[in-house]
């Protein structure tokens, strides 16, 4: 029988890893992630979780340990934030290139300098092109669920997956989380079988040299795996709903049926946006919300489907690609490009380095979008000019 616990986002992640029966955990502490692996190390020490906890001296080594564990056929897990994720960068490519379905929980934290421990998405988005799948979650329950789902999808397409949640807003905030019955999770998530099994006595090189005659083929296969992951995320999200009562897709629509205007959000701010949408709806405004959950693989068809025939779209970015614009703004725009009748898309940058994004901010964004003509212009929400 499932039980409900009051858990912080970090501990929800730990429980997610526990019920996924991870076998090797290797991590290095960093705020705001530390509690994730702290609880896991206790679980291992207490014998609740049958896993090996590998202490390492850096995040680079943490991912290296996960890479070798996963290649050897173990379900591997790690968690990190910001500078730690950046230090892992080389090995993130390694994990993806070697097709190892490792799951990593990244607690979104702004990159230094200036030093910050608060949330924004630039750390995980800097790793967007490493070949990792990325799930951004809105609540602690979704964080817990997404770990299980991440392994389920990753182990079918042989690509690693990040589960990403906001620092403090989720990581250190307690919410009720339903922990599912272990037997049911086991039924949903069978044991991991590696793409190429390592066997004693059968020698080969992992991550061997590929000349110009074969390298491209491996990259083609990775892209095909990503494309396949779109369908698998949808299929497994439905199955998850059937088994546990919570259905997940790559995107989620809220009050979109008749919406002329749409706000696009990623991560915990979605909940704030929901409240703003409710208020605006009360005032008779035809506004809806599109939440992006999985951004790699990028569900451009689902986005196009959801946003076609709308008048205007506002994209909220808790990140910035310096020299251009918010990263999700660019991607949403590119998804809409093939449409004959395209809605206007406006980009809003807000909440960098953990600055609060309030309900009023969303209401202001909505009105700004309605009146704004020029695209491409960056609207800095709440910056002290």
């Amino acid at each position: 029988m499932s039980i409900k616990k009051v858990l912080t986002g970090n501990h929800a992640i730990s429980y997610g890893a526990m019920v996924s029966r991870v076998q090797v955990i290797s991590a290095y502490p960093i705020t705001p992630q530390t509690q994730v692996v702290e609880l896991l190390s206790e679980m291992v020490a207490d014998g609740i979780l049958d896993a090996i906890f590998v202490n390492v001296e850096s995040e680079h080594s943490a991912m290296s340990a996960c890479v070798s564990a996963s290649a050897a056929g173990a379900r591997a897990f790690t968690a990190t934030s910001a500078q730690g994720l950046a230090l892992m960068h080389e090995m993130l490519h390694w994990a993806a290139g070697a097709r190892l379905p490792i799951v990593l929980a990244n607690i979104n934290r702004a990159m230094a300098p200036p030093w910050s421990i608060w949330t924004d998405q630039n750390d995980s988005l800097s790793q967007r092109d490493t070949g990792w799948m990325q799930i951004y979650v809105e609540s602690n329950q979704e964080a817990f669920d997404s770990i299980i789902l991440a392994y389920k999808v990753a182990e079918q397409v042989y690509l690693p997956c990040m589960v990403i949640l906001d620092a403090f807003v989720l990581s250190h905030t307690s919410e009720p989380v339903e922990i599912y019955d272990q037997e049911k999770v086991d039924e949903f998530l069978p044991p991991y079988k590696p793409a190429v099994a390592i066997e004693p006595g059968k020698a080969f090189g992992y991550g061997a040299l590929a000349g110009p005659d074969t390298y491209m083929e491996f990259r083609y296969k990775m892209q095909k795996a990503m494309e396949k992951a779109v369908e698998i995320f949808e299929k497994e999200g439905k199955l998850f709903g059937e088994m546990f009562g919570r259905t997940y897709d790559l995107v989620e629509e809220y009050m979109m049926d008749d919406a002329d205007y749409v706000i696009v959000t990623v991560g915990a701010t979605t909940s704030t946006a929901r409240v703003a949408i409710q208020e605006l709806r009360k005032q008779g405004e035809k506004v809806g919300l599109l939440k992006l959950r999985v951004i790699r693989p990028f569900p451009f068809q689902k986005i196009r489907e959801a946003l076609k025939d709308r008048k205007k779209v506002a994209v909220l970015d808790r990140n910035i690609s310096f020299g251009y614009h918010g990263i999700f703004y660019q991607e949403i725009k590119s998804a809409l490009y093939p449409l004959k009748e395209k809605p206007k898309v406006h980009g809003y940058i807000a909440g960098l380095g953990g600055r609060d994004i309030t309900v009023k901010d969303f209401i202001d964004i909505y009105h700004d979008m309605k009146n704004r003509e020029e695209m491409e212009e960056i609207v800095w929400k709440g910056v002290k000019l």
Partner: protein, 366 residues
């Protein structure tokens, strides 16, 4: 192992994860190089300083491998009397030793004496070939005995006229009686004839012998045409020059013997020269510990211990650094000795840099 290329026609020929499908030996990375490591021709300062050019690092190498007999025989190739020189030679080898600049020389002369005495029981002259040529040796000095030794080896019929003196007359005061007795026995066993009761004139000897060897002490009136091999105006008479340095005297004796051997065999006599000396700067001293020399060597253990101190300048002693450090496994280890697999050697030069003793060098690819 059979090495064949893997042909990839479609993505279906490749696994999902990038794991090796064959061996990378198919790629002959050796084609990248523009220089290649080779075992260079170098010599040690000790062997260069030695008038006899005894291959000192070589015999020391045998010692480190506990092959004391081989070490002794190696010395005998260059010096017939290590028991004598090991006691009275001025040991220029030790003066030249690179280790002087690090802590202390190797006790080379002690090693020579120890090995000379050790091999003395087993020492015998191996006669190569049979010649009808007769040589009269007029005198008993060590340098003349060295000539006798080599001539006997070469198959000459040698007769020594002693004028009543015992063999090795010049070192009787310095070398123990039992050692010289054994040295005499070695010469006698090789068929040496010694005539003690007669002292014929040179003219008389010239009638019966093809060649006559004289010590320079008895040839003050002789005109020496070629000092290196002791040639005189009389083509039957050769003079072995006695010098203060006994090793040089022995060298003179050996040179005359070798010259005559070459002449009789119709070959051209060539004086031996050693290749370029390895300087102290070329020794990577990081690979050695500071350790004092053993001044007097009495046991085999002491000899081996002292041998291990040797830098072995310019002579490979199978330390294996090149093999260990080669990043491409292109140094092969065959019969306890390195060889290069040039199909895969990229010419990076790590082996050359890590050879502590200047044995390897990089040469440009043609």
């Amino acid at each position: 192992m059979e090495i064949k290329p893997i042909k990839v026609n479609s993505i279906n020929d490749l696994p999902e994860a990038p794991v090796s499908q064959g061996v990378t030996l198919i790629r002959k990375t050796g084609t990248w190089k523009n220089v290649r490591p080779v075992i260079s021709e170098r010599s040690a300062p000790c062997e260069n300083a030695c008038p006899l050019k005894i291959r000192i690092p070589k015999f020391i190498d045998y010692l480190t491998k506990s092959e004391s007999d081989k070490a002794g025989l190696e010395i005998l190739k260059w010096n017939p009397f290590p028991s004598i020189t090991g006691r009275v030679c001025p040991a220029k080898c030790e003066t030249g030793c690179n280790r002087n600049k690090y802590d202390e020389k190797i006790s080379i002369r002690e090693l020579e004496r120890f090995l000379g005495d050790l091999i003395l029981e087993k020492k015998r002259i191996e006669i190569k070939g049979q010649k009808t040529v007769k040589v009269a040796v007029y005198g008993t000095s060590t340098s003349l005995m060295a000539a006798v030794y080599r001539l006997s080896e070469g198959g000459f019929k040698v007769v020594v006229f002693t004028k009543g003196q015992r063999l090795f007359s010049d070192v009787r005061d310095s070398i123990p009686e039992d050692i010289l007795k054994k040295e005499e026995k070695v010469l006698n066993d090789a068929g040496l004839e010694i005539i003690t009761d007669k002292a014929p004139s040179i003219q008389e000897l010239k009638n019966t012998f093809n060649y006559i060897l004289l010590s320079s002490a008895d040839a003050q009136n002789m005109n020496i045409v070629d000092t290196k091999v002791g040639k005189t105006e009389d083509e039957k008479i050769f003079v072995v020059t006695e010098e203060q340095d006994i090793a040089r005297s022995i060298k003179n004796g050996l040179s005359v013997a070798l010259y005559l051997t070459s002449k009789e065999e119709g070959k051209e006599y060539q004086e031996e020269r050693l290749p370029r000396v390895v300087s102290y700067k070329e020794i990577i001293t990081d690979y050695f510990n500071h350790e004092k020399a053993i001044p007097e060597i009495r046991t085999l253990d002491e000899a081996i211990k002292e041998a291990f101190r040797c830098f072995s300048c310019g002579t490979c002693n199978s330390c294996g650094n090149c093999y260990v450090f080669c990043p491409d496994s292109a140094v092969k280890w065959i019969d306890n000795f390195p060889s290069f697999d040039y199909d895969y050697c990229k010419g990076c030069g790590v082996c050359v840099n890590e050879c502590p003793r200047g044995v390897l060098e990089l040469v440009p690819e043609k």
